[in-house]
């Protein structure tokens, strides 16, 4: 089932993916370095829905988002989009999801418009009118005036808004936002909340982790530390089995 590519004419939001398309994970387990970050995690995400990830530092919020983005392969469990395993078709998953991480991926020597234009050409290659898409993204986060400013002169907040502008310039059904509100002032957080609401209204999906307050009506919350696993106890279980086998 290929998600219809959003055409440039839709001014505000992407064309809603078919109502049935659902993103789900069963028994997901993530291992970073040698630590089991979380295990046995199930979730479903249908169009219009949102996941809010809470939990202390190191409980795996970022790892979970990177896993959803396909950057990390789950050690166990399956991740599927409409039943089809995501891992089988990375490019398709890349086309339908956008990931905003801690780092802002803004090149210091390129101007804001050039930065976003590159991402539009890389993520939405079929976009007919790239400059228009770029302007739409900048307009949504009120940074049109920064269009020709090179990246190195931007403040952290401005860089974050340039980062978020990519979501609008290169639209896709699934948004994965890792603490998007960092470095944003009150007004910008408001704009972000509206953008997310519009995205969800148009049938998009959002998974978002945050420490600060963000209005996400009707979102399902996930406390990541519920899925934590103490890796040492895992070894104890193994030792127990080993000693039992010996006797």
């Amino acid at each position: 089932m290929t998600v219809p590519e959003p055409s440039a004419t839709a001014p505000v939001a992407p064309i809603a993916p078919a109502a049935s398309s659902v993103f789900e994970g069963r028994g997901l387990t993530c291992i970073r370095g040698e630590r089991v970050v979380f295990a046995g995690l199930d979730f479903t995400l249908a169009p219009g829905e949102a996941l809010l990830l809470l939990g202390p530092n190191g409980s795996g919020k970022s790892s979970f988002l990177r896993l959803l983005a396909g950057l990390i392969r789950p050690a166990a469990g399956t991740l599927s989009w409409n039943g089809a395993p995501v891992r089988d078709d990375r490019e398709e998953h890349g086309a339908r999801s956008r990931y905003i991480g801690h780092l802002d991926a803004v090149k210091p020597v390129l101007s804001v418009a050039e930065n976003i234009a590159f991402w539009v050409r890389t993520w939405s290659p079929e976009t007919p009118d790239v400059p228009a898409a770029v302007q739409r993204g900048l307009g949504r986060f009120a940074i049109e005036r920064l269009s020709d400013v090179p990246g190195k002169m931007l403040s952290a907040g401005q860089k974050r808004r340039v980062n978020l502008a990519r979501l609008i310039a290169a639209p896709a059904p699934l948004w994965l936002l890792d603490e998007p509100t960092t470095a944003l002032d009150k007004a910008s957080i408001k704009v972000l909340e509206e953008a997310i609401a519009e995205h969800r209204a148009a049938g998009g999906m959002v998974a978002l982790s945050t420490h600060s307050e963000i209005a996400l009506p009707g979102a399902r919350t996930f406390h990541m530390d519920e899925f934590a696993v103490d890796s040492a106890s895992a070894w104890d279980a193994l030792d127990a089995e080993w000693e039992a086998a010996k006797t």
Binding site: R220, F227, S233
Partner: protein, 79 residues
């Protein structure tokens, strides 16, 4: 007997090559062996200091190694 060790005049090459082989291989074996013993000793001390209480708890809680942490999460996700 001495002529045997002379190796037809090439003693200076045959014996050193066997010596080098012996040194390198024995050194590797000893280093590996000692490394393993050190690690096993530290493992023992770590397991001991973690306290038997916790090891017994681990044994009841997860009889099979693949038993997943089954904290009930289903009602959380399917709301």
């Amino acid at each position: 007997m001495a002529s045997y060790f002379d190796m037809g005049g090439y003693a200076g090459y045959v014996w050193p090559s066997y010596a080098v082989t012996a040194i390198v291989l024995v050194a590797l074996f000893v280093a590996t062996w000692r490394g393993l013993k050190n690690r096993e000793r530290t493992l023992e001390t770590l397991l001991a200091t973690r306290g038997p209480r916790r090891r017994r708890a681990a044994r009841q809680e997860a009889p099979a190694p693949e038993a997943v942490n089954t904290a009930s999460t289903t009602e959380e996700t399917s709301r």
